[in-house]
Amino acid sequence: MQAERKQLFDYINRISFSIDDLLLYLDTHPEDTEALAYMNELIPCREKALKEYQEKYMPLLIDGTDSENCWKWSTTPWPWERGYY
C-alpha cells in the first residue's frame, strides 16, 4: 500500500518534471512540432496520475479533490517534512 503510493507519487514528480523542462524549451521554440506533440502526450498522463493519487490519498492541488467531511488540504502533511509522499 505505502510502496504503491510512493511509486505513484514518484511518477507524478517525474512526469511533472518532464513538463517543467519541456515548458522552458517550448517558450523559446514555440513552433517545434515534435516537442509540441510530446507535451500533448505528457499532459494527460500527468492529469490521470494526479487524479488517481488525489482520489486515493490526499490533495496535491487546491481543486484536486472533493473533501466531503474534512478539508484535507490543511490536515495532511506538508512537502518539506521528511519522508513526504
Binding site: F17, D21, L24, D27, T28, P30, L60, W80, R82
Partner: protein, 200 residues
Amino acid sequence: MWNYEKRLQFPVNITQPNAQIAQVIMSQYGGPDGEIGASMRYLSQRFAMPYKEVCAVLTDVGTEELAHLEMVGAIVHQLTADLSMEEIKASGFDKYYVDHTLGIWPQAAGGIPFNACEFQSKGDPITDLTEDLAAEQKARSTYDNILRLVKDPDVCAPIKFLREREIVHFQRFGEALRIVQDHLDSRNFYALNPAFDKPC
C-alpha cells in the same frame, strides 16, 4: 497569479541533521546568488520586456525558482531538525539560532540579510538578459562549491538537481537574448532600448 502544488519539484528526504552544512546551503535561500534573488529578478524584469516569448521564459523560470527556494528551505529545515543544544553550539549554528531559532530566514552563509540590491531590473532587455545569464552561472558555481563540501548522498541529490537546472536556465536565457537581438538592428544592437525608445 500563482497556484500552489503540494509537493517539491524534486524530493528532499534528509535523515542525518548537520547544522554546519545547513548554514552553508542557506546561502542559496537568501544569499547573493540564491533562489529568492533569482525568482524576484526574473518575475520583476517581465514587466518591461517587449517580446512575448521572452516574457514566457522570465515567467516560467521565475516560477521554477520559487519551487527551488522551497526545496532549499526544505533542505535547511531537515538538516537542522532535532538538533541538541550541544550540536547547535559545536557546529557554530548558535549565531543563527539566537535570532531565528530553527526558523528559515533569507540570509547569506556569512549572515548578510537578503536585499533587493542583489539583483537588477534595468528595463533594458539586453542588459537584463545578460545579467540573467551571469546569475545562472553564479548560482551554478555556488552549487559546485556546496557539492565540494557535502558528502551525504541525501543532500547531494537535490543539490545536483538544482545545479543542473541552472545550466538549463542559462541555455534558455541565451535563446531569449538571441530572440531579442533578432528584433533589433544587427548593425547596432544598442541603437535603441526597445523597452523604452520609440522605434523610428
